[in-house]
Amino acid sequence: MAELTLVEAVNDALHTELARDADVMVLGEDVGRAGGVFRATAGLLDRFGSDRCVDTPLAEAGLLGGAVGLCMAGWRPVVEMQYDAFSYPCLDQLITHVGRYHWRTGGRMEFPLTIRMPYGGGVRAPELHDDSPEAYYVHTPGIKVAIPSTPADAKGLLAAAIRDPDPVVIFEPKLVYRTARGEVPEGDYVVPLGKARVAREGTDVTLIAYGAMVNVCELTADALDVSCEVIDIRSLRPLDEETILASVAKTGRVVIVHEAPRTAGFGAELAALIAERAIFDLQGPVLRVTGYDVPYPYWTIEDAYMPSVERVSAAVRKLVQ
């Protein structure tokens, strides 16, 4: 075990997976010479050479489309999108090809590619360095999506994604890239997709979150004298419905938290799941604390946009009153 930050754990996973499997390669803008703008890919170029750690032209659709072709040639590409909002040019390739090509081959050819990107707000950056685009990705058939909140999960989920036979997108919460620190198993380490993590047990209210919002929920649990169960979803697709439903059955009260805009965000899917499968367990409304349906704001007021301990607390109080 080593104590690593979240972004160091990502780097560790890449080193481990490239060493383990000669078919794995990393490509993206500035992933090579610079080792990535967050240094997530540091050391890969020197260690694995310029065939397996590739600085591509500045073209996200070409990058992801190129990765589709690399899969056809037997590679397992790990594509970095430099930032959340700069992944949008690749959505066309994602929706029309990455999510459909396995189906299109009658289920006969595999596209085991991984897309990873830093995401989320709160980092005092110019616009479009703050987005939480997971809903676009998770709504897309054929795609799997995972979001770690701890260094160990950042390593384990990325390893699972790289080994998975289907395309997987990993969103890494950049707000806690360097502040989330924790023990990370050395060498081979996989956290299977599809298993939520009960970050904290509790009995009165279930707080459901992922990414940097897990920490906000834990801080809320600390701050309140209400027994909160905090569930870190980790894997949005496949989704661990059982863990969620078991917690709701126990507490009967739910607050869902994410940074992304509210309308048709992933929180809506979680609320819909509960409204369908746990309606008779509920003792109150299913509440969401989310980003707003507005452009991500000027950074001096971004704290008013981001779900906070105050906002989550207010939702919890509404339920336990």
Partner: protein, 328 residues
């Protein structure tokens, strides 16, 4: 533009010339029969490639079987040149799951419906094979309209930068549905676009199968020997509707179309072969009959197939599907 004469004496044996003819006839027959099948309600909407056969047969003739082909919907039947069964392609147009093949079985990628988005795939495949030390070339087909898309730009640029062994064949039929080439680009030629990627651009008569072949062969050789990608512009004129659902009378000059139809590529090649003494009337008839028989057998086989199992909805979506995939 290259001339045919050079080619007849240049590298192609008589058997090659005839095989090329056979492929053109097969494609032509596939196309003509498909229009009929559509009218008869036996296949769905169909994208007609009548008079594009010289481009499709000529360019792919320069490939080896290990090389990959990336077709657009306009080249839906290009797998025929690799021996793909007629019924497979007919089933694609019939919306039957058995029309979807494994690209690795034929080294023919899936039919690309969204314009130009397969160009980066060809770049990636060519690059990926090169990284593995293999001599594979990737050849992508797309139209004149496709050159306006960002995906074309990004894909060709990627191939150029990676020095990937790719050949990009632009079927310039001068129309994108109802949009003429002048509304698509201000460039004098589409081959000119190669300059911006630092790769050779070649313009060729798209109705001259031997000229197309020659240009493709040069490009394939360059690619295979480490010289990187080439952009080939095969110029002709769309002499049929865009697809069975399209009525071009609203936007196209029918007189011009008739003129173009008179210059169609298959008859032209037939004349070349006959003048060179390579093709007899009987041989031509036999080739045509063989193709017609193949089509007849193909549609029969397609129609004989059992209806698709609706469970295929789910079976091909993921290798390892999420547990809730069947919820709806």
């Amino acid at each position: 533009m290259a001339s045919t004469e050079a080619l007849v004496t240049h590298g192609l044996a008589e058997s090659d010339l005839l095989e090329l003819y056979r492929r053109m006839v097969l494609l032509r027959t596939y196309d003509e029969r498909s229009v009929v099948y559509h009218r008869q309600g036996r296949i769905g909407t169909y994208a007609i490639f009548w008079n594009h056969e010289a481009i499709q047969a000529g360019a792919t003739f320069a490939l080896s079987g290990d090389d990959w082909i990336f077709p657009s919907y306009r080249e839906s039947a290009i797998g025929l040149v690799r021996g793909m069964p007629v019924e497979t392609i007919l089933q694609w147009w019939r919306g039957h799951p058995s029309g979807w093949w494994n690209p690795a079985d034929w080294n023919v990628a899936s039919i690309a419906v969204p314009i130009a988005t397969h160009v980066p795939h060809a770049a990636g495949l060519a690059w990926g094979k090169k990284l593995r030390g293999l001599p594979t070339v990737a050849m992508a087909f797309f139209g004149d309209g496709a050159t306006s898309e960002g995906a074309f730009h990004e894909g060709v640029n990627l191939a150029a930068v990676m020095n990937a062994p790719a050949v990009f064949v632009c079927n310039n039929n001068q129309w994108a549905i109802s949009t003429p080439i002048e509304a698509q680009t201000r460039a004098e030629t589409l081959a000119d676009k190669a300059v911006g990627y630092g790769i050779p651009g070649v313009r060729v008569d798209g109705l001259d199968v031997l000229a197309v072949y020659a240009a493709a062969r040069e490009a394939v050789e360059r690619a295979r020997s480490g010289g990187g990608p080439t952009l080939i512009e095969a110029v002709h004129y769309r002499a049929a509707p865009h697809a069975t659902a399209d009525d071009p009378r609203a936007y196209i000059d029918q007189a011009r179309v008739e003129e173009e139809r008179a210059r169609e590529c298959l008859g032209r090649y037939e004349d070349v072969l006959k003048n060179a003494g390579v093709l007899t009337v009987e041989r031509a008839e036999a080739v045509r009959k063989e193709a017609e028989d193949l089509l007849r057998a193909g549609i029969t086989a397609a129609e004989a197939e059992a209806p698709a199992d609706p469970d295929l909805l789910f079976r091909n979506a993921y290798v390892d599907p999420p547990g809730n995939m069947r919820n709806g």
